[in-house]
């Protein structure tokens, strides 16, 4: 990552004009208030093993500081996503055939392999902008907009934040609100939850475009303890309503005795699924609560950054996240930052890896909502090498 700032041409021209007119050039105070752009860029590669999801992401964050602590921030992200992603069906000791999300083709998974959809390919564009300014002497207000677009997904959001400093600016309380509207236009149309995967060309269980609404509220306090230590405590509330399913995920309907997927015979002359699969079904509303604490401690140039988050909600998913970073300065503005992250979660109350009876209660199969008490995310060791450049 690198950060560069450039002195605007207008400032140089203004100084030159003042010199030509014989007037006094800008005073040191004005020089401090010169509007300047700062650019922060990042190129990310994210890859999973076994030819799963790969993401190449280009990120640009531009920030312009105006007089009186007013700040304009603009961000752009371009993601190129490829790879294979699980259908959600269970592995089986025989081949399994699936209809692709478009409903126009079939794919066959060999025996004893996790069924994967290898047609996954997408490009995501995301832009965001925000404006921040003081409100009085001790308050700060900011407002922003965000938009992202994918082949089958559109997001539009707005956010607002107000913060108040007190106790000689050693304490800050803040309240933030974000609202978003997401429109889904899945390939082939969004499936009716719990409807069956059908033969090629049969889209009678698709309901077309769907949407969801998301409201987030974050209330927090940041406190300076001493010259080397500060901490932050945040409470977050989030409510999502609408179509909350992953439209591409399915679940195997299995024999209650053998546990094998129930076979299915496609219509003669038409390709179709070899076994019985249902599209997943989740509740149409979700509420989340989380408590987040973070602290930073400065130790003779090194910085320890530690955070913990507990999240719970009405889907009965409880999660714990521990994040530790240790920034180690090197010469020339470089630094090393080992990063350790531990994440664990319980499963949703309606989670089933497969079903052996036909019920109408919400059922899902996607592993994102499955238990992770045993299989956790570990990011250790991860070392970041960084360098900040300022002109």
């Amino acid at each position: 990552m690198s950060r560069n700032s450039k002195k605007p041409l207008a400032v140089s021209l203004a100084t030159a004009t003042c010199a030509l007119l014989g007037t006094t050039t800008a005073s040191p105070v004005i020089a401090q208030e010169e509007p300047v752009w700062e650019f922060n860029t990042a190129l990310l590669y994210y890859g999973e093993s076994d030819n799963r999801v790969e993401d190449i992401s280009l990120n640009v964050l531009a920030q312009r500081n105006f007089v009186d602590d007013r700040i304009l921030t603009l961000g752009l992200t371009v993601d190129s996503l490829t790879g294979a992603t699980p259908y959600g069906a269970i592995p089986f000791d025989g081949p399994q055939t699936f209809t692709t999300p478009s409903g126009l083709q079939v794919r066959t998974t060999p025996a004893n392999e996790i069924p994967l959809d290898d047609t996954f390919f997408d490009t995501r564009y995301a832009v965001r902008g925000s404006w921040q300014q003081p409100l009085g002497r001790m308050n700060t207000f900011s407002a922003g907009l965000s938009f992202s677009g994918e082949f089958d997904y559109k997001h539009l959001g707005a956010n607002f934040k107000i913060s108040h400093d007190f106790n000689k600016r050693n304490s800050t309380v803040s309240l933030a609100l974000a609202v978003a509207r997401d429109d889904l236009d899945p390939e082939g149309g969004a499936p009716v939850p719990l409807s069956a995967m059908l033969d090629v060309g049969d889209l009678c269980n698709r309901i077309g475009d769907v949407d969801k609404d998301v409201v987030d509220i974050v209330a927090g306090i940041t406190q300076v303890v001493n010259r080397n230590l500060l901490f932050q405590v945040n409470y977050s509330f989030s409510n999502s309503s609408g179509y909350l399913n992953d439209p591409y995920k399915i679940i195997s309907l299995v024999d209650s005795i053998s546990g094998d997927p129930l076979p299915r015979i496609p219509t003669p002359g038409i390709a179709g699924p070899s076994h019985q699969y249902l599209f997943e079904s989740r509740p149409d509303e979700r509420t989340k609560h989380s408590l987040y604490v973070q602290t930073k401690y400065y130790m003779n140039g090194k910085v320890l950054d530690a955070s913990y988050r507990f999240m719970t909600g009405d889907w009965d998913i409880d999660s714990h996240t521990l994040d530790l970073r240790y920034r180690w300065p090197l010469s020339g503005g470089n630094y090393l930052e080992p990063h350790f992250r531990y994440y664990t979660q319980s499963h949703a109350e309606f989670y089933r890896p497969s079903i052996d009876w036909w019920i109408s209660a919400p059922i899902l199969c996607f592993r994102r909502l499955s238990p992770r008490r045993i299989r956790c995310h570990h990011r250790w060791p991860q070392v970041r090498l960084g360098n900040r450049i300022r002109q």
Partner: protein, 75 residues
């Protein structure tokens, strides 16, 4: 039951923090270290946004230090 426990915990934490905050802090001329870029929360907003979007796409949790951001995370 769970909501009442969470609510009570939040209330206790808030009371403790607000009462403790008045005894903490530094004077204006002691902010040299706190003003460093690496002591900001977050120190690198771009990196934080990238990380949060990956976690949002792979886990059933989000939030805490900010908002989830846009995107379906259907992968």
């Amino acid at each position: 039951m769970r909501r009442s426990v969470i609510g009570s915990t939040m209330l206790c934490v808030t009371v403790i923090l607000v009462s403790a905050c008045s005894t903490m802090g530094v004077e204006a001329w002691e902010r040299d270290i706190l003003a460093k870029a690496e002591m900001q929360l977050p120190s690198d907003p771009l990196e934080a946004a990238i990380d949060d979007h990956i976690y949002f796409s792979k886990e059933a949790s989000s939030g805490g230090r900010g908002f989830g951001g846009g995107g379906c995370g259907c992968n």
